[in-house]
């Protein structure tokens, strides 16, 4: 039972080769770190997995299903990189979390009592109940991330993709998020987290993928964080593939 499989995924942006023949398999109930330097293709891999970027070649399944089916069934949640969000947008935290329920609602997306309960429970779980009425941009970096994770919880997504959740987040908030993600993993959800902040990896991840346009390595954390492999992924050896 795999959560994510990608086979031979290749993505170009115009002439730029962003992903080259990427093979990835993640089993269910794991936290997988996606590690690579800026421009290594982490966001592009996420976008391919959720179907936002159409690969030139390759196949993808999520929960052993066609990605479009998995999306429609509400299995997939995506927590975007901070730069991709308009933090000045006039929505409250509770509005954002409510959007997690929309896929299962009728055309007008009117929340019923059960949906409100799910939203409240998600807010409670990430510790944002008291801030539910705040505009989303009034939150700190860590709280913002938790709000988007709460949206995935309200959705009851089985698969969570988090793009750079630790950027602009202080150490204490980071620990809170790590704990939250691990408890979600313990419920059988699968989490893929991209980061170039390696300090958070040992406490969080069960396994890691080193990405540099290609998958350089997919292994346990100790191996991935060894100097030799990190050097290849982060270009310390100077060899640009």
């Amino acid at each position: 039972m795999t959560a994510v499989t990608a086979k031979g995924v290749t993505v170009h942006y115009g002439d730029v080769l962003a992903l080259d023949d990427v093979d990835v398999t993640v089993e269910r109930g794991r936290i997988c770190g996606l590690l690579g330097m800026n421009g290594s293709g982490k966001s592009t891999l996420f976008k391919s997995l959720i179907g936002l970027v159409k690969p030139d070649r390759g196949t993808i399944t999520l929960h052993d299903k066609d990605p479009a089916v998995a999306r429609r069934e509400g299995l997939v949640a995506y927590v975007p990189q901070s730069e991709a969000v308009d933090w000045a947008f006039p929505v409250r935290v509770v509005d954002v979390v409510s959007m997690g329920r929309y896929g299962a609602l009728g055309g007008a997306r009117r929340l019923k009592a059960a949906d409100r309960e799910a939203v409240d429970a998600a807010l409670e779980r990430v510790g944002l109940t008291d801030l539910a009425g705040k505009q989303i941009g009034e939150l700190s970096g860590g709280q913002r991330k938790r709000a988007f994770v709460a949206r995935g919880i309200a959705q009851d997504a089985r698969l969570l993709f988090l793009d750079e959740p630790f950027a602009g987040v202080d150490k204490r908030s980071e620990a809170t998020i790590v704990e939250l993600l691990r408890s979600l993993r313990d419920e059988g959800r699968t989490i893929v987290v991209s980061t170039h902040d390696l300090a958070a990896v040992p406490a969080l991840c069960d396994e890691a993928i080193l990405l540099r346009r290609k998958v350089l390595l997919h292994s346990d954390i100790d191996t991935a964080l060894s100097a030799e492999h990190l050097g290849r992924a982060f270009g310390l050896d100077g060899a640009v593939a």
């Binding site: 959720i50 179907g51 936002l52 479009a68 999306r71 429609r72 069934e73 509400g74 997939v76 949640a77 995506y78 975007p80 991709a84 969000v85 308009d86 947008f89 006039p90 929505v91 409250r92 509005d95 954002v96 959007m99 997690g100 929309y102 896929g103 055309g107 007008a108 997306r109 009117r110 505009q135 009034e138 949206r151 959705q155």
Partner: protein, 287 residues
């Protein structure tokens, strides 16, 4: 003249009652759309659609069709062409908008100049709310009601689309379709607003209420309410003022909106210029 006379006198005239109705309805529909349009960053798209409908309006006139038909078709054509030019070339979005709408507007100008007289270009460009016909009113009310009904039903999806289209995609909705729906609603709104203020000033009606409200609140529902209040009151006041001082109605309406915006820009309690200055001063004195 006291205030009651000032308000009552114009109402004796049938053309003024019609004008007030049309401009208030246009103000309402535009205000609602302006909230989403300005948040997404489509402000200039409304202007482009407004210009691009000119040939449609002229052709409707030539073929004796309701003006809304031609206007809406050319609004849709403009949006489609903009998308095609942007997606099939390396040209950036703003330039694609510029090329398409000016081209269609120019086509409209040529058509007007080659059509037997009766079309008054000034009325199309600057609005003719004091001379609206029964058929115009029916079109404005019908299209306005349809637009508002669809927006009301789809408001949560539209906000989701404006805020986070990627999430919409990830949960299996179709953001492209939502975007297309919003564009269609925008084109319909332009058609309504044309009657009140004309092609040139439509974009003001589609931008100013939304940005004014945005400076006053962080809540989307309040933003809608404020935009509607600002817009409808400016439309009614502008129509009255234009009667009393004998000025261009469309111009007066938009001027009222602009003045409200300027006041809000200066005096808004949290996001206004003065509030920001005060905040900065407090911040420095603390340090």
């Amino acid at each position: 003249m006291n205030l009651i006379d000032w308000l009552a006198e114009p109402l004796q005239f049938d053309f003024m009652r019609r004008a007030l109705l049309v401009s208030a309805v246009a103000g309402l529909v535009c205000a609602v759309l302006s909230c989403w349009v300005t948040l997404i960053g489509w402000s200039l798209l409304g202007d482009a659609i407004a210009h691009a409908v000119l040939p449609g309006v002229v052709l409707s006139y030539i073929f004796g069709l309701p003006f809304a038909v031609g206007a809406f078709l050319f609004g849709g054509l403009a949006v489609t062409l903009i998308g095609v030019v942007r997606d099939t070339t390396r040209i950036r979005g703003d330039a694609a908008i510029g090329v398409v709408f000016t081209g269609l507007f120019a086509l409209g100008l040529v058509l007007v100049s080659k059509t037997p007289s009766q079309i008054d270009l000034n009325h199309i460009l600057f609005g003719n709310v004091l001379g609206v016909s029964d058929s115009d009113i029916a079109q404005v009310l019908g299209i306005g009601a349809l637009t508002l009904a669809v927006v009301f039903y789809k408001r949560r999806d539209l906000t989701l689309y404006a805020f986070d289209p990627v999430h919409a995609h990830a949960i299996g909705l179709r953001p492209k379709r939502l975007g297309a729906l919003l564009l269609m609603l925008l084109a319909l709104t332009v058609v309504v607003a044309l009657q009140a203020v004309g092609i040139i000033l439509v974009s003001a009606m589609l931008i100013t209420p939304g940005v004014t409200a945005y400076l006053l609140t962080d809540r989307f529902e309040r933003m809608l309410a404020i935009a509607i209040a600002v817009s409808v009151s400016s439309c009614v006041l502008g129509t009255y003022l234009s009667f009393h001082v004998d000025s261009s109605t469309g111009g007066t309406i938009v001027l009222c909106q602009a003045i409200v915006f300027a006041l809000v820009y200066l005096f808004a309690p949290r996001r206004g210029l003065l509030a920001n200055k005060r905040k900065r001063r407090t911040a420095t004195s603390v340090r």
